[in-house]
């Protein structure tokens, strides 16, 4: 009498005790039917082992490693860009503002340079009314140019204000045009 499939499966997996294993082995060696069952069990076992699920984490690691290798290779292939060849990206409003500021500064510089070159250092008449003049000493030193030619008249102290300053040609003065 042949053993059932469960005992044969246990025998195939080497899970039986030694006494049972010996009995089953003796039977299988002499029974073609049980040998066929054992062959089927072996086929099933090999199929299951062949379809075993791969290690997913290992697959992930392998995938990332391959990706990193690809990236490294691409970086090595890419040409190095130096400072002069580097491309700068700037938005249009910022670029327009920079250009406008540059033009304004340049224009102001040119205008100020031009005006500074074509204006003479005209002497400014000091703004001093009579009230202020009466409060000052006789001749505020700040109103006199320190680099001017100095004339010191001996202290005769008899000059009087005879009228407005007069500017006249000597010829006309001699002809009596400027005399009172």
């Amino acid at each position: 009498m042949c053993p059932d499939v469960e005992i044969l499966s246990s025998f195939y997996d080497d899970e039986l005790e030694d006494s049972q294993k010996q009995v089953v082995k003796t039977h299988v060696d002499s029974c073609p039917h049980c040998q066929k069952k054992m062959a089927e069990l072996g086929l099933i076992s090999r199929t299951i082992n062949a379809e075993e699920e791969p290690d997913f984490k290992m697959a992930q690691v392998n995938t990332w490693n391959k990706l990193m290798d690809i990236i490294d290779q691409e970086e090595k292939k890419a040409p190095k860009v130096n400072f002069w060849q580097r491309r700068f990206q700037i938005s249009f409003p910022a670029a327009a503002a920079l250009v406008a500021a540059f033009i304004v500064v340049l224009s102001l510089s040119v205008v100020s340079f031009y005006m500074g070159k074509h204006t003479t250092s005209s002497p400014t008449t000091p703004e001093l009314n009579m009230t202020d003049a009466s409060d000052t000493l006789l001749g505020d030193d700040n109103l006199f140019d320190s680099s001017a030619i100095e004339f010191d008249i001996p202290a005769i102290n008899t000059f009087i204000h005879a009228g407005e300053p007069l500017l006249i040609k000597e010829v006309d003065f001699m002809n009596g045009n400027g005399k009172n």
Partner: protein
């Protein structure tokens, strides 16, 4: 390659233009030392100034001060007169109208005492002249007949064109 060169040119341009912008604010009025006299002969003038104090009665000159100055058209020559009881700051400016005619502009600020009070008088006067013509300027005015016991202060001035000295080849 072209773009790289343009960038280099742009940086070089910015490098050289930036100091120009900074120093553009500096006064560009040339100093007397910076004037190239040789290239502006027709604009250079000699000013002979003679300050005289005359007796109001005898017209005798009791004090005489001379000064010589060179200037260019439009650049004033400043004088300070310390006259005891008055002080005057006078600026003479010569403008070259054409080859023969000049314009002499006189700006004066005078401090004096009248009726026991200190006064200030500021005037601007101009007169067309020719080179070599003598001009008189009375900062305190001309004495009237009743003030003959006082003194006249007069600036005699002669403006002549600058004559470059001949270069000796010896």
């Amino acid at each position: 390659m072209v773009r790289t060169d343009m960038r280099k040119l742009f940086f070089v341009f910015c490098f050289f233009i930036s100091p120009l912008m900074i120093f553009a604010q500096e006064g560009a009025v040339p100093t007397s030392e910076a004037i190239n006299v040789d290239s502006t002969d027709s604009q250079v003038f000699n000013m002979d100034i003679d300050l005289k104090v005359q007796d109001g009665t005898s017209a005798q000159v009791v004090s005489d001060h001379k000064a010589h100055h060179q200037t260019v058209s439009g650049r004033p020559v400043s004088l300070n007169i310390n006259g005891g009881n008055f002080k005057a700051a006078v600026r003479f400016t010569v403008y070259n109208i054409n080859a023969d005619n000049l314009l002499l502009l006189t700006q004066s600020t005078i401090f004096f005492i009248k009726d026991g009070q200190r006064r200030m008088l500021s005037t601007v006067k101009s007169i067309p002249i020719k080179a070599g013509e003598k001009v008189l300027f009375f900062p305190m005015g001309v004495l009237k007949d009743g003030d003959k016991s006082n003194f006249n202060c007069v600036l005699e001035m002669e403006v002549s064109k600058y004559q470059p000295q001949p270069v000796s080849l010896e």
